[in-house]
Structures are given as C-alpha cells and as structure tokens.
C-alpha cells in the first residue's frame, strides 16, 4: 500500500489468460487432492502403517496427522515463497507440484507395518512432511502467477478459479475413494484398494507438469527481472521491515485467520459433526458433503468477480459475520435431524442381521446389526463387532459398538442444504482472498509476503479447528457427567472456537482494512 499510481499493464489475450488459469488450477487441484486423500483414508492408513499397540508408531501417526495439516505449511510458505521471489513463480510451483505428487505416489507404494515394521510409519511421516512443505509453497505461487497475468480490475474474478481448487480437490478425493471402494468392495479396499487413489496421483501430476512446462514466466516478474529490481533477500524485506510486516499482520488478523476457521468449519468440521455427533453412516455423510461442495463451488467465481466491483473486504467480512451469527442454529438443526429422542420408533419393524468374515490373518470377524425403523423413514443401526482370534476361537474380543443413522430423503436434502449454506460462507471468505493478498504486497516480495499469513491463517488457525472444537465438546460433555445439565447442548460447544476467531477477525477487518484496492509500487 504505497499509494503510488498503478502503471499500465500490457494486455494479455483471454486465451493466454485461461491457459494460465488452467495450468495453475489443475496443478493446485491435484495438490489438494493429494493432501486430502490421506485425511479421508486416515482410519485405514492407521491400521496399515501405525498399529496402536506400538507406542512409537502411534506417536508417529499423530505427528503425521498434525505435521502436513498445518505445522510445516508455513515453513513451506517461507522456503518456496523466498524461492519464488528470487527465481520466479513458474519454476517454484513446478517444484512443489513434483514434490507433492511424488510423495503421494510413494505413500501408495510403502509396504505396511506388518512387512517392514518401524520403517513404515517413519517413511509415511517423512512423506507427509514433504507434502505439507509442498502445499505451503504451491498456493502462493499459483495465486501470484494468475494475478500477475490478470488485468488489474479483474484480479478477483480470475484468481477465484484458483480458489475453487481446494474445494474441488476435496470433492475429487471423496469421489475417487467412493468409486474405488464401490468397485473393489469394502474388504478389498481396506486391504489393498486404498493404494489406488494414491497411485493414480502420478498420472494426474504427470499431465499437470507437461501443461505447466509450456507456460511462460509471469509478465510482472519478468519485467522486474529485466529491470534488475528483484529482491535480494525477500524474507528480510517481507518480515524485517515495519512497513511490510504491519501489512502481514493485518492480513493475518483481519482476513486469513477468520477465513481459515470459516473454511475448516464448513468443509471439515461439518463432515466430522455429521459422522461423529449425528452418527450418519459413512457413504451418506460423504455424499451429503460432496453434493453441497459441488453446488456451492461456482460461488467462488461469483464472489471473486463481485469483489472486483464492490470490494474484497465487504464480501469476506460478510461471510465471517454470517458464520458468527448462524453457526449455532445451523448445527443445532443438523443435530435435530438425527436426534432419536424426538422420534417415534416402529418397534414391530426391528430387524437383526449377522455377518461372519474371515480376516487375512485368520481371525473371524462377527458383525451383528440391529436396525431400528422410525415413523419418518429414518433408520438407526446398532452395529456390534467382535473378533475371535484363530488362537482362541471360543473367547472373542470385547464388542466394539458403533451407531449408524440413514437419513430419509427429506432430512437428507435438508442436511445437504445446511452444509451448502456453510460452504457458501466459505466461498464468500475464500473467493476474493487471493486477489486481496496479492494486492496487499509489492511484486518483488509478493510470493513470500502473502504465503505466510495465508498458511498461518488457513493452516494453523483453520487447521486447529477440528482439534480444538472436539476438545471443547469433550470438556462440555465431561462437565455434564459431573453436574448433569450444567452445559446446555454440549455438542454445540465446539463452535465457540470458529465463532470467536471469526468474530475478532471481523472487528479487526472492519476497522483496519481498506475496502478500496491496494495498489503496490511495482504494479
């Protein structure tokens, strides 16, 4: 925000612009796909690589979950951001794509703990660290690259295509997992089929690399390079100078922290709440989120384009405010759709089924399912699993009890609508943010400066949402066990974290952010 008048940017044809957007978006989409499949398959992977009876392997498992999720992403932002400001955007985000795709492919090839023991969790942790670093470097590069090609007055519209990739990556990962699981069957998928989504990644990455190799360096960066104005030390310029550091802090506390918690609540906590608090069964819960994601995805582009006309700040802050005001009623409604205490059971219609399955190690798994039918069409299943080992067939393990709810059509669509509303908030806060961040910092240190607040806001503030929310629910539930009724609706307590962060971010953004476009010295 130097206040200097913007220079005229050379005109780029729409065809070139959309080639740039396609090359950047496809790569970013694949990176998000790679990133999400690990999370979606966490339960299967933990049994393959991280047996619970080994404390060291269990520690590596927990670290692997945290590591790529958010801890190393800001470091990736620093490492690759610096590189991007020194050698260029194109080559840097080509490297991140190779690292991400290569490590995902390699996860699909690692033998399980049963085969190589301790090496299995260690290798997975290492590859997860590489994935996190790569993701930290990718987004800033793609957003900067597209923004530096786009006309100044349409940056919101063109960069919003990059913004769709995170949601589409999640959607594609859910789709590939569900299709592979459907084609191979649940048991084969749990045994070896989970490797398919990982191995498939190499094909997608290969295509993306070929497309990206053909692209030229961003015009603004090339111009800086020709003029010899590239920063010699982007890290020192970004974070060592008060003029720029104050904007990094404003970006973090006035935009990206709120964006991060709204994003994780709408796209991840919603799924976790549907599965764990509402007990909706696996396939149906994933379909609910997938349909909501697909329906809301075009709004990234709509809000990105709108931000060019009515300002980025207005749209982002409106999304945060709506989340703050409506999360509790929305989640309360979601819970009520599966609340069995308010429903009438058709006691005559109860059914019980039993299934025996021999495990690869010779153990016998018995699954007993009692289905309860309700007057509105809802089905609640009580599933009991016991394992009889081949060594002691007559003394089966302690039963593992789970619940699964199958929603009737009306509740199913209402649940989709409630998730859709949340993803709509995500599109409001996330659609304009790439253009907002790009315009906040000068070209010479843009990649470094924008990547760090983005990944701290999105990765750390947002990434912690599921963990802090779950901890808050557990504390409230425990308080109710000690003093029944002391916390009303404990299942909603987890929402205080995103509400508080988004609320503070809204106030800071409202007061300190400027709604007019920031113009930087080099643009």
């Amino acid at each position: 925000m130097t206040g200097k008048k913007a220079k005229v940017q050379p005109a780029i044809s729409k065809r070139t612009l959309f080639s740039v957007i396609s090359a950047s978006s496809v790569g970013t989409l694949i990176e998000w796909y790679d990133f999400y499949i690990f999370g979606s398959l966490a339960a299967i992977l933990s049994s393959q690589f991280f047996p619970k009876d080994n404390p060291t392997a269990a520690l590596l498992s927990t670290l692997a979950t945290f590591a790529a999720g958010f801890i190393v992403r800001p470091f990736g932002a620093l490492v690759f951001g610096r590189l991007g400001d020194l050698v260029g955007r194109k080559y840097t985000f080509l490297v991140t794509l190779v690292l991400m795709g290569g490590s995902t492919f390699a996860i699909g090839l690692i033998p399980g703990y049963a085969t190589i023991g301790f090496w299995a969790p260690l290798l997975v942790l290492l590859l997860r660290l590489i994935q996190g670093l790569a993701l930290g470097g990718e987004y800033g590069g793609a957003a900067t690259y597209v923004a530096e090609y786009a006309p100044e007055n349409q940056r919101g519209y063109y960069t919003s295509f990059i913004q769709t990739t995170a949601t589409l990556g999640l959607f594609v990962s859910l789709g590939v997992i569900l299709i592979t699981r459907e084609l191979l069957g649940v048991e084969a998928f749990a045994d070896w089929g989970w490797r398919v989504p990982f191995i498939l990644s190499i094909l997608l990455v290969g295509v993306s690399i070929i497309i990206r190799m053909r692209m030229a360096e961003s015009p603004l960066f090339s111009k800086l390079k020709t003029e010899g104005k590239i920063s010699k030390n982007p890290l020192a310029e970004s974070f060592g100078k008060k003029q720029n550091l104050k904007m990094v802090l404003l970006a973090l506390f006035g935009a990206t922290a709120g964006q991060g918690v709204i994003w994780y609540t709408g796209q991840f906590y919603a799924l976790s709440f549907i599965q764990k608090a509402c007990n909706v069964e696996f396939v149906q819960s994933n379909v609910i989120v997938a349909v909501a994601l697909l329906g809301a995805t075009p709004f990234f582009v709509i809000f990105g384009g709108l931000s060019d006309r009515i300002g980025r700040k207005n749209i982002m802050l409106a999304g945060m405010l709506l989340g703050v005001l409506t999360y509790r009623p929305i989640y309360d409604k979601m819970y009520s759709l599966t609340d069995l205490t308010t429903r009438q059971e058709l006691s005559d219609a109860q059914t019980i089924s039993r299934k025996l399955a021999k495990q690869p190690n010779g153990d016998l798994l018995t699954t007993s399912t009692t289905s309860h039918f309700y007057s509105d069409g809802l089905i609640a299943k009580d599933i009991e699993k016991t394992i009889a080992t081949s060594k002691a067939p007559n003394s089966p393990s302690k039963p593992e009890l789970t619940k699964a709810v199958v929603l009737p059509s009306r509740s199913f669509w209402l649940m989709i609508f409630l998730v859709f509303i949340q993803v709509l908030y995500v599109t409001m806060v996330y659609g304009p943010i790439a253009a907002f961040l790009v315009e906040l910092f000068p070209t010479r240190i843009r990649y470094t400066s924008m990547s760090l607040p983005y990944h701290i806001g999105n990765g750390i503030f947002g990434g912690l949402t599921p963990f802090i929310a779950t901890a808050l629910v557990a504390t409230a539930t425990k308080a109710n066990e000690v003093a029944p009724g002391s916390v009303e609706k404990p299942y909603l307590e987890g929402l205080w974290y995103p509400i508080l962060v988004a609320g503070v971010c809204f106030v800071i953004g409202l007061l300190y952010l400027n709604n007019k476009r920031y113009t930087t010295a080099d643009d």
Partner: protein
C-alpha cells in the same frame, strides 16, 4: 475512526496476553495427560499456536497504538 483504531491497540495487546495465558494453561494440562493424542496436541498448541497468537496480537496492537494503520 483513527482514534478508535489507536485505542483498540491496547485491546489487541491485552487479548494477546489473555489468549497466551488461556492457551498455555490449557496446553500444560494436555501435556500432562495420559493420552498420547492430547500430549502431542498440547505441545503443538504451546509451540506453534501460542507464539503466533501472543506475538502477533501484541505486535499488531503495538502498531495500532503507534497509529501505523491510520488513513
């Protein structure tokens, strides 16, 4: 408006201090837990989230107090 931004600087500094106190006590409880997940989570909050929230908010509040964000 500039005066509000300036005096709110104190609020952001105090919020940083309070968030630090709240998160440090909470994460120390988690670090002492028997559960491995809680212990790792406690260390992550203590070593990653706390420095960013405390340092960031205090610095942001200081800049606001110094009228760095005035129009």
């Amino acid at each position: 408006m500039d005066a509000i931004k300036k005096y709110l600087g104190i609020v952001w500094i105090l919020l940083g201090v309070y968030a630090g106190y709240d998160r440090i006590t909470d994460s120390l409880t988690k670090i002492a837990s028997d559960k491995l997940e809680d212990r790792v989570f406690g260390w992550v909050v203590l070593c990653v989230l706390v420095p960013i929230v405390v340092g960031g908010l205090i610095l942001f509040g200081t800049y606001a107090w110094q009228e760095e964000y005035d129009e």
